[in-house]
Symmetry: C2
Subunit: 189 residues, 2 copies
């Protein structure tokens, strides 16, 4: 469910819709966007109508002209508001130590990050096995103290402190005070 499978949609139509949507949203004319992107109007017209198979260069020029990140062209969907109260939500426990991570926002298909709430108590050092390659974890301490980071050189963090480290190598989270809380963003790119 937090996989990273390829987006399953026919790409041309998605991009066609995105292009037109982004353009009108920016309040630009087709002619103007084509001019900024250095493309022929005809090319853009055909793309927005779902005809054709644009080259990377063409798509890139359009992203620059529209001022949008590349990934915007292949993403769609409109999210909802969701609230998870403290203590609710699926929790991932640990046998090694008193450590509980609650999944707040699972990575939807095509997205690349999970958001966790972490509650930990002092105990033996808890080290995580490496995650798949490319995973980065961000941790912000909410309360207490903890030693966090890659297993080789972890860092002691206090409330408000932030750390970012690659998680595809062994890494640790060890609470130093009772009631230690943190927010963890696991970003698999």
């Amino acid at each position: 469910m937090s996989d990273t499978g390829p987006a399953p949609k026919p790409p041309i139509e998605v991009i066609a819709a995105s292009l037109r949507a982004e353009r009108v949203r920016a309040g630009l004319s087709l002619t103007e966007v084509a001019r900024r992107a250095g493309l022929a109007k005809s090319t853009l017209s055909q793309l927005e109508s779902g005809t054709g198979n644009p080259s990377l260069e063409t798509l890139w020029a359009l992203c620059v002209a529209l001022g949008i990140p590349f990934s915007r062209l292949v993403a769609v969907s409109r999210p909802q508001v969701q609230v998870i109260r403290a203590g609710e939500g699926p929790a991932v426990g640990s046998e090694q130590s008193d450590y509980r991570a609650t999944l707040l926002a699972a990575s939807p298909p095509g997205a690349r990050r999970d958001v966790y709430s972490v509650a930990a108590e002092p105990g033996p050092r808890r080290s995580s096995a490496p995650h798949p390659p490319g995973v980065v974890e961000h941790v912000v301490i909410s309360a207490g103290r903890a030693v966090v980071g890659v297993a080789d050189e972890p860092v002691e963090l206090h409330p408000g402190d932030y750390i970012c480290y690659p998680a595809d190598v062994p890494h640790v989270f060890q609470a130093l005070e009772p009631g230690t809380r943190a927010v963890l963003v696991s970003e698999h790119r």
Copy 2:
């Protein structure tokens, strides 16, 4: 700095590197990937060497063959460990009320999220103008209480509570207690 500008890199080279990296990561030969994607070996060879300007169809076929999301092709870089102590880092203030957001992890080129630490004091309701379309914000309360969410129907949150809402519409963050702290992930997809 938290803008949504397109990744400023020459895209062909980035994709070339990504393609080769993903392929060897999957333990596949160039010939095999080309076969699965229904492409000519020569095409893939040229792409991995940074030559050429692939069509969308070609790129898509490769994503499917490699089992990776489209966006993986435009993301790169290998991160370092970075620590930002409480109070450090670039802060974004607000004149409207006592609200300070510290940028912890800016979105690297091709990535899609900013991580902020938020400190706010009670005061008049602080509402943010809509962000670019597609932006989603995740908020976890560390301390205090706050009213958060879309301007129409905000939600009162307590420590440990989590909310996720679309940020391309007007939204608010209003502290209800002194010393209110939160972690905010702004995700622009």
